[in-house]
């Protein structure tokens, strides 16, 4: 794959309007021929004794955008955490079932988690900038993954900050603490930080929740541009957004105190002709 985000932005790209372009669109595998990248089978997840997910099975298709929707507490975040094995870090969290990533067993005990998490990036629901400067927040993961040339670092940083529409707002204070940014700015910084690593799969936990419509649109555009080259799983409470950008959608619900997958399919089908009545109620009842 061509180093996509490392292309220094062409000079004419610096105007605010198109500051978040990603360069020319490249053809990825088309979305209409689904090729399974991640396959989840019978995934269950417990916190202590309390079940949080029960028997989830679904396939994530390469290059596609999959939206996960469902009420609060139904286990969407837990599901994402299981995919990049962040659940390993929660002391009383137990996962059972199978997850395969291109035939690699993601639940293998001797898996190299660093590579896994580089390949499967995650953006959290609550943005957590590190207690460092804005610049260091983005440089840190890059340096750790072997990119040390100053010019390359700077170019990447500018590119990803432009991609999320933050560059103009912070370009003259890159060395000030990231924790002094506003809520939406922190959210976008964290998205940029994850993008900089060019993961194969991007898990996004409500990336637009703290964003105003303008920034939200920027991020949405960005996600659509990534489609085909990145595989994206996005948790969103904004059903309209899910409808607009996703190729596939999954609907979670809490039944018997545990989250389960009610319906999974093409986005259009889920929103327009849901087979399950709960899904129908949820996608129609919303005032989103």
């Amino acid at each position: 794959m061509k180093p996509l985000l490392l292309n220094p932005a062409p000079a004419e790209n610096k105007s605010p309007e198109n500051s978040y372009t990603l360069g020319p669109l490249q053809s990825g595998p088309p979305c209409c021929e689904p090729k399974t990248l991640l396959s989840v089978k019978n995934l269950s997840l417990h916190y202590g004794d309390k079940p949080a997910l029960k028997n989830i099975s679904l396939d994530i298709y390469e290059g596609c955008i999959t939206a996960l929707i469902g009420p609060s507490g139904c286990g969407k975040t837990s599901f994402l955490s299981a995919l990049n094995r962040l659940t390993d870090m929660i002391p009383n969290c137990h996962v059972t079932g199978n997850i395969h990533f291109n035939d690699i067993d993601l639940r293998a005990p001797n898996l190299d988690l660093l590579t896994l998490r580089r390949d499967i990036g995650m953006i959290f629901q609550k943005p957590v900038p590190f207690p460092l400067s804005i610049r260091r927040n983005i440089e840190l993961p890059l340096r750790e993954h072997g990119i040390n040339k100053k010019s390359e670092l700077n170019a990447t940083m500018q590119q990803v900050l432009q991609d999320v529409g933050l560059w103009e707002e912070v370009k003259d204070r890159l060395d000030s603490p990231a924790q002094a940014l506003s809520g939406g700015q922190q959210q976008r910084l964290c998205i940029a930080r994850a993008l900089a690593l060019k993961p194969k799969v991007l898990l996004m936990d409500e990336p637009c929740s703290a964003l105003d419509p303008i920034s939200s649109a920027v991020v949405e555009d960005l996600i659509k541009r990534l489609q085909g080259r990145y595989t994206i799983i996005i948790v969103t409470h904004n059903l309209a957004q899910a409808k607009r950008i996703a190729n596939y959608a999954g609907f979670f619900w809490v039944s018997e105190r545990a989250g389960c997958l009610i319906e999974f399919g093409q986005c259009k089908q889920i929103f327009e002709s849901p087979t399950h009545e709960l899904t129908a109620a949820y996608v129609n009842g919303s005032r989103g």
Binding site: R118, F124, V128, P131, L140, P141
Partner: protein, 292 residues
């Protein structure tokens, strides 16, 4: 960042009473320090009226009975042994804390932490005896006499290691868990997370630990007295026997009289000045802490 201190004017009634109480406590602490300083000063004053400060720096040697008061060899011994111990104990202590917090399996970590707490409670006499009977002969095999700056550094390092380890451990524990998961999600290795995120976040706790350890190393008496050799000289190598200021006070205070006694108080004062210097230096160090 201390956030609350900016609205001092609006305190609830409990808060006002409490503020008063705390102020009182603080005043008492301050007063006690002042008292101790005053005590040292008043005891030192008689000699400072007769003997110039310069004598303490320039006299040919420390033979207080003959009126020779050069304390610089002991100053350098104190400084060197403290620095040496800190150089050893700081990385080891931080490593200990990191090990028990992030690398050891939970059960081992719990036991290990208990071990370190035990180490923190071993009295200095025991350290001293152990150093004298076990460590010093070993050092003597490399280079006599065995009781030496090196032995003192080793014993001191062992004594202050738990101070560093426990303080750093507490600071690490206070780092928000979200930093760990965010760093992990970026594929940062554990070490990268620790080095670039956790240690900066726990910075002030680490600094406190080092300050406390330095204080303890400078002030330690019994153990150093037993293992340092107590010869008043500027050490030329790690194997030279040295006498620290505290050992000097402990060795000679019991029989010192007249000017000799006063000279010992002056060396106590010198010690305090050294600590003041150290504290100010660490403040400078803190100022440099920026977001880079």
């Amino acid at each position: 960042m201390t956030l609350l201190r900016h609205n001092i004017l609006s305190l609830s009634k409990t808060d006002q009473q409490l503020s008063l109480l705390l102020r009182l406590c603080a005043l008492i602490s301050a007063l006690l320090v002042a008292l101790i300083l005053g005590f040292l000063l008043s005891e030192s004053l008689p000699i400072l009226q007769r003997v110039s400060i310069l004598n303490f720096m320039n006299d040919p040697s420390w033979h207080p009975v003959q009126g020779l008061y050069n304390i610089t060899p002991m100053l350098s011994a104190t400084l060197l042994s403290t620095l040496g111990a800190l150089l050893l104990a700081t990385p080891l202590g931080i490593a200990s804390a990191l090990f028990s917090r992030y690398y050891a399996p939970p059960l081992l970590a719990a036991w290990y932490r208990r071990l370190i707490e035990l180490l923190a409670g071993i009295p200095s006499v025991v350290y001293g005896l152990w150093g004298l009977t076990t460590l010093a002969p070993l050092v003597a095999q490399i280079h006599p006499p065995g009781v030496s700056l090196l032995t003192a550094i080793l014993v001191l390092a062992l004594m202050i290691l738990p101070t560093v380890a426990l303080t750093v451990d507490a600071a690490l524990l206070a780092v928000p868990a979200a930093y760990h998961s965010s760093a992990a999600a970026l594929g940062l290795s554990r070490w990268a997370t620790i080095r670039s995120v956790i240690i900066p976040a726990a910075h002030s706790g680490i600094r406190s630990g080092i300050m406390l350890a330095a204080g303890r190393a400078i002030g330690e008496t019994m153990a150093v007295l037993m293992v340092a050799g107590n010869v008043v000289q500027h050490p030329h190598s790690l194997f030279d026997s040295v006498r620290t200021l505290t050992a000097n006070i402990a060795l000679e205070m019991s029989y010192a009289m007249g000017d000799h006694r006063v000279a010992l108080f002056v060396s106590g004062l010198a010690l305090m000045l050294m600590i003041l210097l150290l504290v100010s230096m660490s403040e400078l160090f803190k100022r440099k802490e920026v977001y880079v």
